[in-house]
């Protein structure tokens, strides 16, 4: 339970931090520090349990059927990393309080930082491989946000994008690797996987699994050849660099390798892949670090080099190397975090991080200088500091690699140490020499508490360096035991082991480093060099950029080849695909002639469809130049379709079709007003080119083929005997369990009411979209004018002002009849609604009838008249309807049933008698309200466009003036 709290606390904190006001720097920092501190205290309190070698475990059922549960587990290694993550986070928060400028949006910073901490905790504490990858990706995402924190700077954006691309590609590889691993081990549970080491190493898939997991870990830990993203990630604020690149983000890869060490390590493949990457990285990183001019750049490459060292140790694969790797991970985190913070202080005080211009800072920043010098001594591996101890261990292990005659590894180790001494010297150079006095302001020591984290970390370096066994022995033992099991090798954490080969190597490295640095300064002119000797061609960044450019260009080319923005080719492809799918269906259809069924031909029905088909063909022919005629013809087909539904025993569908037909026709009529007239080609003397004719022939043949194919498919379906579907279930259960005898309605509001809920939601969204689109509607300039029909003096409305129309109405005589008709139609709508559950009707139909009743009023009495009398708020109807439908569904929860369960009650009222009251009734009421709301919203919004154009002083006023003159 405490483990879950450890993970949740940072995420909850992140949300809370994001909600704080922008300038609350102190409050934010206190809050974030409190979160980190409480996490740290929880972790520390668990040490007694963990140090005994037992594993804390907390499991939540997630997908138990797939043996996939959320497991949080903490052993010695996880404990150590947790302390590291939270401890450094605490210090970074304190430091960031002073580092961040009041102008920076701090809530974002602390929210991201806490979220990142949570993600890291998740990686470290996951007891399930899939879950680990999930948190792994989350660290990529949050680090992207942190690196790109100053998103107004292009280098920050580029660095963030690069880091994210590289690490997330690695994450993808890791996911595949982990899936393979889980498959081999038979479970994703880490404890079970760790027991299956032998099976995994001998499995045929071992190599691909290893490569994929290694890719994930190496990209994350910035190992060669993926190291290039880390220096560019230095565009982040310094506290972020101090956190991500010393203790957390880049250590995630290391952590993963340590975690899976018991199952993956110990084979030649492991040593070759991991070891080689480590050696290359530590040499290249250390060498490149010497030639940086930016302080943070130097630290970045030195980080790469140290990570390479750890990876190399892991690659060596002996238990002692493992202990050394854990030890160096800790040491590196302490001295590198303090160095980053020191650089941040320098940057903050002098405004520069360029080693070419900075010098003599010892005079103005004495404390910071001392601290940084001690920390960089630890980085170089000076005795009495923690870096020395783990480096000695590394030397000892390097000597053991290969046979006694193979000195390559030892040579590489010494070379790396020489470079390390050289860049450490380069780093501390900024504190010596004359003080640069170009700026107006002299730098001065930072506030007490900004320096405090650096002091504390440097103190740790010293304590561990002087009293290793006392300070760190216990923790290291616990962590090593959790990885190595009971096979912990004998090791001693002491400063003095007597004169032996590692000591000789250390001495060699120091001497060599100092000489090499002197030589570089004398011969190579470090300050003026713009590129790195020998290695400047090895530019990972350029390779990355080239790859990205090639990818983008390739994608663009593919899009040009395979895609089109024109609608017609897309539709042609779509229809061709549809036709081929139908043909495929015909191919496989078994036609057993024995069971075919026919219904006798009915002459009126045939005549009906003669009309319907003629209408459709005529509409297809006329739709270009005679829009109104085409609309009427399509309407004819619609009526025939509706009658067909009625004929073929679907009264509900028929009613719906009829009402929708009415509403659609009115909708399109309203739209027609905004489409300028088309002048036929004959009048313009345009002659169709042969290309046009060809296209027409192609389309016509396509249309005929599509029609013929669908005819065939329909005919074959129709003459097949009816097969058993789930319909029988609906027919049987509708009355006894749904409480209604109209099966179609019960289907809509009861059996499949989740679908219906979705549907009315879509309806509402569409209506709102239409409304929003029309608010910004700009009609075509040709149709801005009021159409001639509306200015004709025969039409009384042409001389009416909106106010007058509101008083008297538009067509007065029909309007009187319609006013009488309104309550009648409303009663009809209510009738259809009420009986819907048992007889044809229901929410959809009643809603449409109601809407039509209102639309008729609009049409004959005029918009102004109706709206002066009726405040119809379609938005409200929609929201009330959706609310009712959802609430009626949620009501089922009160009785302990799943969402949208219905119930039918029969209530006996004194006057009305027995009343049929299903809860689906409320749902249907919601449907009704939504249908009325959407229909009215769409139509009124469109109609108002015409009204709006009248408000522009137009011809009607001129016409009035003429009238008055007469």
């Amino acid at each position: 339970m405490l483990l879950l709290l450890l993970i949740l606390l940072p995420f909850i904190g992140a949300i809370a931090a994001a909600c704080m006001p922008a300038h609350a720097r102190n409050r934010e920092a206190w809050f974030a520090a409190a979160i980190a501190l409480s996490g740290l205290l929880i972790t520390l309190s668990q040490f007694a349990v963990v140090s005994e070698g037992s594993i804390l475990r907390y499991e939540i059922a997630w997908l138990p059927a797939y043996d996939l549960n959320l497991i949080f587990r903490m052993d010695g290694l996880a404990w150590l990393f947790t302390v590291l993550i939270q401890g450094i986070c605490l210090l970074v928060v304190l430091y960031a309080r002073y580092y961040m400028s009041p102008k920076d949006p701090v809530p974002r910073f602390f929210a991201f930082l806490l979220a990142f901490m949570g993600a890291m905790q998740g990686v470290v504490l996951s007891g399930n491989l899939i879950q680990l990858v999930m948190f792994w990706e989350l660290t990529s995402l949050t680090s992207f946000l942190l690196i790109g924190y100053w998103h107004h700077r292009p280098d920050a954006r580029r660095g963030a994008r690069m880091a994210f691309t590289v690490t997330s590609i690695g994450g993808l590889c890791l996911l595949i690797g982990v899936l393979l691993l889980g498959h081999i081990a038979g479970s994703y549970d880490l404890d079970k996987v760790l027991l299956a080491g032998e099976v995994i190493r001998t499995h045929a898939w071992y190599l691909p699994t290893l490569i994929l997991i290694a890719l994930g870990a190496l990209t994350k830990s910035a190992q060669f050849p993926f190291h290039f993203w880390l220096p560019h990630a230095m565009a982040a604020p310094t506290p972020v660099s101090a956190y991500l690149h010393s203790a957390t983000m880049v250590k995630a890869g290391i952590f993963l390798l340590m975690r899976l060490w018991p199952v993956l390590a110990g084979t030649p493949e492991w040593t070759w892949i991991i070891g080689t990457a480590g050696v290359c990285t530590m040499l290249i990183g250390a060498f490149l670090a010497i030639f940086q001019h930016d302080l943070k750049g130097l630290l970045a490459y030195s980080t790469i080099s140290h990570l390479g060292l750890i990876t190399c140790l892991l690659g060596i694969g002996t238990p002692l190397a493992m202990v050394a790797a854990i030890f160096h991970t800790l040491n590196h985190a302490t001295f590198k975090a303090s160095l980053f913070m020191a650089v941040g202080i320098i940057d903050h005080e002098t405004g520069s991080r360029d080693m070419r211009t900075l010098s003599g800072l010892r005079r103005v920043l004495p404390y910071t200088a001392t601290l940084a010098i001690v920390a960089s001594a630890a980085m170089a591996g000076v005795p009495l500091l923690n870096g020395f101890l783990s480096k000695e261990m590394f030397f000892a292990e390097a000597l053991l690699v290969g046979s006694a005659s193979n000195w390559w590894m030892s040579a590489a180790a010494v070379l790396m140490a020489i470079f390390g001494v050289a860049y450490s010297l380069r780093f501390i150079q900024v504190f010596f020499g004359p003080l640069q006095s170009g700026d107006n302001s002299t730098p001065h020591e930072p506030p007490r508490w900004m320096r405090f984290p650096v002091e504390l970390l440097v103190l740790c370096c010293l304590i561990v360096g002087i009293l290793p066994e006392l300070s760190i022995g216990l923790l290291l033992g616990a962590a090593a035991q959790s990885v190595l099991g009971d096979a912990i090798p004998e090791y001693s954490l002491a400063i003095w082991h007597g004169v032996n080969l590692p000591l000789v190597m250390s001495v060699l490295a120091f001497g060599g480093g100092v000489v090499f640095y002197r030589w570089l300064v004398a011969r190579c002119n470090l300050k003026l060099r713009d590129n790195v000797p020998l290695l400047h061609r090895l530019n990972g960044k350029e390779a990355y950029e080239t790859t990205m450019l090639l990818l983008a260009a390739g994608a663009a080319r593919l899009e040009r080849w395979l895609g089109t923005r024109r609608l017609q080719p897309q539709l042609v492809i779509l229809i061709l695909l549809g036709i081929s799918a139908a043909l495929l269906m015909l191919w496989y259809l078994p036609t057993t002639l024995s069971a075919l069924q026919f219904t006798p031909i009915n002459l009126p029905f045939a005549l009906l469809w003669l009309v319907g088909c003629s209408c459709a063909i005529a509409a297809a022919w006329q739709a270009k130049y005679h829009r109104l005629a085409a609309l009427i013809l399509v309407g004819g087909t619609g009526i025939v379709t509706s009658l067909t539904f009625l004929w073929l025993s679907a009264p509900d569908v028929a009613l719906t079709q009829l009402m929708v037909e009415t509403v659609t026709t009115i909708l399109l009529l309203l739209g027609l007003r905004w489409l300028p007239a088309r002048i036929s080609a004959r009048k313009l003397n345009l002659v169709a080119t042969s290309r046009d004719k060809l296209r027409r022939i192609r389309d016509l043949s396509l249309a005929i083929t599509a029609g013929v194919v669908l005819t065939l498919v329909s005919y074959i379906i129709l003459i097949q005997p009816e097969n058993q579907t789930i319909s029988l279930f609906f027919l049987e259960k509708s009355l006894p369990e749904g409480g209604g005898s109209n099966v179609v309605n019960v289907l809509l509001v009861d059996f499949r009411n989740l679908d219906t809920l979705g549907e009315i939601t879509v309806l509402s969204i569409v209506a709102l979209t239409v409304y929003a689109l029309l608010r910004r509607f700009r009609p075509a300039p040709e149709s801005m004018r009021i159409p001639p029909q509306q200015t004709n003096p025969v039409d009384p409305a042409s001389s009416q002002l909106p106010g007058e129309q509101a008083a008297t109405g538009y067509l007065q005589v029909p309007a009187v009849y319609l006013r009488l008709l309104l309550p009648i139609i409303i009663v009809v709508a209510i009738y259809f609604f009420m009986r819907g559950h048992n007889l044809p009707g229901g929410g959809f139909i009643a809603g449409l009838i109601f809407a039509v009743a209102l639309i008729i009023q609009y049409m004959l009495a005029g918009t102004a008249w109706v709206e002066a009398r009726l405040k119809l708020q379609p938005h409200r109807w929609i929201s009330i309807g959706l609310g009712l439908a959802t609430l009626s569904g949620m009501g089922a929860w009160l009785f302990g049933y799943p969402f949208l369960t219905t119930h039918t009650a029969h209530v006996t009222l004194p006057l009305l008698g027995e009343l049929h009251l299903p809860s689906a009734f409320v749902f249907d009421l919601g449907v009704f309200a939504v249908v009325v709301g959407t229909t009215m919203l769409i139509l009124i919004a469109l109609a108002h466009q015409a009204v709006r154009s009248h408000r522009i002083p137009g011809q009607s006023n001129e016409y009035r003036a003429q009238q008055e003159q007469k």
Binding site: I575, S649, L675, S727, V744, L774
Partner: protein, 116 residues
């Protein structure tokens, strides 16, 4: 009956396809209307032809499948019709807006040379 229905669906579909392939946006909207009739009818006839057998299971009758038309396609078609109305409205508004913005009623927002 089956033949008439199949022919009707084919003719509506063919007319719709022809219109949908035209370059003018109003032709496309009428094409979509015709296509939706054809497709709705097609879904509907998967329940086969039933005359005078509406799926109303009134209490006095015992429920056997042979007595009634298939209610499932009916329910599906009913919702399809209403959704069809909504998409038609959306398409119409986009059509009008596109006409106002681009100055042409070509579906691609720009005229091709030598177009119909």
């Amino acid at each position: 009956m089956e033949l008439i229905l199949a022919l009707a669906i084919g003719i509506l579909f063919g007319s719709g396809v022809w219109l949908v392939l035209r370059p003018r946006s109003f032709q496309v909207i009428t094409g979509l209307l015709l296509l939706s009739y054809a497709v709705n009818l097609f879904i509907f006839i998967t329940g086969r032809v039933h005359i005078n057998k509406p799926p109303l299971t009134l209490p006095e009758q015992a429920a056997t499948a042979m007595q009634y038309a298939d209610p499932l396609p009916q329910g599906l078609v009913l919702t399809a019709i209403v959704i069809g109305f909504a998409t038609t409205a959306l398409y119409l508004v986009v059509l009008l807006g596109s006409r106002g913005l681009t100055g042409t009623d070509h579906v691609d927002g720009k005229e091709r040379e030598h177009d119909e």
